[in-house]
């Protein structure tokens, strides 16, 4: 965005403090705009009152993110990519997480194809209070035959509501694919220095986003300039991913430099979302397991350094879990609080005989423990100690979790009135505190497992206490 402070933004707002946006003052609303924690459209007078129309329009342009935001796919699972404003997440936050697209190809046997599409579409993993899912499916034309590709796209579209990336360097093949899903807003892959005229025509007639490919950055810039001058703005840039050696170091440098030009130098010619293709790892590895690790290495580089969408091949669990978790970590808003409120929570419908577990108020720890108890249907109490937002192991080492603090927490939330057994289960990682905690609290202390995922097994052996 081009404005550097809430005051500068405020100058474009009506200044009436009308409250329509939900904020008490226009300045407060301006601060939210600066932090990108609200939308300009919430200021209804700016758009409804003729006298603000000019300012509204100007402000919308000035607030636009440095990197263009584009959308692929339609409906609930459409993916927004790009829209970034910073080089480092702590400067604000990264905005639209890297969309992970996994591949299928048109020489797959149909049953196998549908099975793979369904696995990608339905994959999920619980993480900090919600399920992580995957973002898109890339359909590759391996056959080179337009009809074969069209049939494959058709089958894929029947199985999934995920956005599609249609992949071929042959414009005729792409067009046959597009004809099957003209209303699904798929991303085209790709226009390059040879086929760009034909692909440009396709993009204009079908109004879909397009990827431009060139490892030569002058050529990539030239393609982007050509397409944008032709009125096409939903552009994704692929500088190519070389999977090893000098080429890989060069790939890393290209992603950083293209993003730097877009964000720090404000050069709009290349200020588009970037695509990375870690699946090039598969072309230099003979073994699938080795390839999956190296693909994840390339993916991690892309997730951290500026890829907005990427195409991957391995859908083995170890790949999906690691790649998707890393996206979540890097794209989590760093302004989000690290901690949850301390207190005494109920899981399920506990009674006076239910166990009382202890954990810290580090959000990640809390949600993990809570979900393990919930998902295994363990009726229980969970007492959350204020460890200043630090996890169990580190808090024991750093003395944010101590016997004394456990005592204060038990007392202030009146744990004694909840359970009849006066027994506290502390995390295995806090085992060191068990003796001292018994001494200062006069509660019985049981040491639970080191990982709350093992509470069900631990319960079988240890609960109710003897």
């Amino acid at each position: 965005m081009k404005l550097s402070s809430p005051m500068e933004i405020w100058k474009y707002l009506p200044g009436t403090n009308c409250g329509e946006c939900g904020e008490k003052t226009c300045l407060a609303f301006a601060s939210h705009l600066k932090e990108r924690s609200t939308r300009l459209e919430e200021c209804t007078p700016l758009f409804e009152d003729e006298k603000y129309a000019d300012k509204g329009k100007q402000l919308a342009e000035l607030l636009a993110p440095e990197i263009r935001e584009i959308e692929i796919g339609v409906g609930a699972r459409a993916a927004k990519i790009g829209g970034e404003d910073v080089m480092y997440r702590h400067e604000l936050t990264f905005y639209n997480r890297t969309a992970l697209a996994y591949d299928v190809w048109d020489t797959m046997e149909e049953g196998e194809l549908r099975e793979r599409v369904s696995r990608i579409t339905n994959w999920r993993k619980f993480y900090v209070g919600e399920f992580l899912t995957l973002d898109a499916i890339a359909v590759r034309s391996v056959s080179g035959d337009a009809q074969t590709f069209a049939a494959c796209v058709k089958a894929v579209a029947e199985e999934t509501d995920l956005p599609l990336v249609l992949c071929s360097f042959d414009a005729k093949v792409l067009e046959e694919g597009l004809k099957v899903v003209p209303d699904k807003n798929p991303l085209l892959y790709a226009a390059d220095k040879t086929n760009w005229k034909e692909v440009l025509e396709l993009v204009k007639s079908y109004k879909v986003p397009v990827t431009l490919f060139s490892p030569d950055l002058d050529m990539l810039n030239s393609l982007a300039l050509t397409f944008s001058s032709a009125g096409v703005e939903d552009i994704v840039l692929d500088p190519g991913v070389s999977p090893a050696g000098e080429g890989l170091a060069d790939t890393f440098s290209k992603f950083v430099r293209v993003r730097r030009v877009g964000i720090e130098e404000g050069d709009k010619e290349v200020a588009y979302p970037l695509m990375s293709v870690p699946m090039t790892a598969w072309m230099i590895h003979g073994d699938a397991l080795d390839a999956s690790y190296w693909e994840a290495v390339l993916a991690a580089m892309g997730i951290i350094k500026y890829a907005d969408i990427m195409i991957l091949h391995s859908i083995e669990p170890h790949s999906l879990i690691a790649e998707r978790t890393l996206v979540e970590n890097i794209y989590t808003d760093p302004r989000r609080p690290v901690s949850v409120e301390p207190g005494l929570r109920e899981v399920g419908t506990p009674t006076g005989h239910s166990p009382l577990f202890l954990t810290t108020n580090f959000a990640l720890t809390y949600y993990t423990v809570e979900s393990d108890l919930n998902s295994n249907k363990i009726d229980s109490y969970l007492i959350v100690v204020d460890s200043e937002g630090i996890g169990v192991e580190a808090a024991v080492a750093g003395e944010q979790l101590t016997a004394e603090r456990i005592k204060e927490t038990l007392e202030s939330y009146e744990a004694e009135n909840k359970v009849e057994h006066k027994t506290l289960v502390i995390p295995g990682l806090a085992a060191r505190l068990s003796g001292e905690t018994e001494d200062v609290t006069s509660w019985n202390v049981l040491v639970g497992p080191r990982d709350s995922g093992r509470i069900p097994g631990w319960m079988d052996d240890n609960w109710p206490p003897k």
Partner: protein, 424 residues
Amino acid sequence: MEKKLTLADLAKILEQYDVVELEDITIKGEVELELGSSAGLALPPALAQALQSLMGAREMPGAFEAKRIEALLPATFKVAKAEWTGEIEEVTLGATSADGGTRERTVTIGGEKSLPFYNFDAQMPYPPVISVDCFDMPIPLAKAVREYYGDVMEDPGEWAKKNVREFGADMVTIHLISTDPTIKDTPARAAAKTVEEVLQAVKVPIVIGGSGNPDKDPEVLEAAAEAAEGERCLIASANLNMDYERIAKAALKHGHVILSWTQLDINAQKTLNRYLFKLGVPREDIVIDPTTAALGYGLDYAFTNIERMRISALKGDTDLAFPISCGITNAWGAREAWMKDSPGKEDSDWGPAAYRGLMYEIITGLTLGLAGGDMFMMMHPNAASTVKKVTQTLFGAKVKEDKAKKVAIEDWVTWDAEVGASKK
């Protein structure tokens, strides 16, 4: 185009976009614009958009485009170099006989003048190094790791040797965890003996780690520092919750480097480093450990904390301008790294735990390498070799055989997956 544009309007817009002259545009009379159809025509998109909105054109594409672009518009990609004023301290670990030690080689880290692997700004002077862990007693390890160390867990010397000989470790870390009063309460003197054994077993520089017990570590590390006199080991670690002064003085007296450890807190790191300066610890004797959290378990905090420290240092904050060590072995604390199945009933299948653990250690290592890590303490031999390979590649080390040069990278589109079946 229904709405007319005056020349004054146009001039104003052009000025706003720093446009001095428009090629291929003829201005007829007062207000009409006609776009030439020669191949090279291009209005900067932002300008086209501004003109368009001013003239009330509703449809985005097409309004200002040339009828048909027959050739690519020429462009040159240009980017400025980032200039930083700060520089990271260079720290050498290990001492050869020339410097009063018995190591066969030394390891130097730090010295950066740019962000990690940003060789296009300033060449990184040294690649990150990997120190492989060993412990002074058998410890519970994930199955995937145990299979590599099962035969040496009773003997720290043999363990260290294996790390170097078989797994190509640049360095070895000996963790004296048995000294913890709640574990075995091994006396400091016995721990010092273990350190001597390790120093005899390997000729690479070593890291000496305590048990993490704040009461016992000062005594243990002091004895270890004395036993390793002159070897320029990395003493791990001093932190604010313990008698760091005793540890720092021991390191100083016996010629070692000190690891300054804080928990995800930039200000605490600055404070501790300043305390160390005050005690007379030279800058080239300090490495910092801002804390590693595993993928999925706080890696975002660790990443940003390290990245911020490195950027502050490059901007000139000398309190933070030190090489960074990361305890990547922490990745094995993530349940995904070792647990057989998901404890959550609604997750998709987690697949074999052994594959996940290796992946978690690799991704945690690479992530912190991209944030600014100079040294990685690692556990799984294959994770160590993979992180080494990728960091060496990004550093720009020459490779014997560059396989990537033999493939056309865009061929992934037509790549036939049949060749990718696992042999393992």
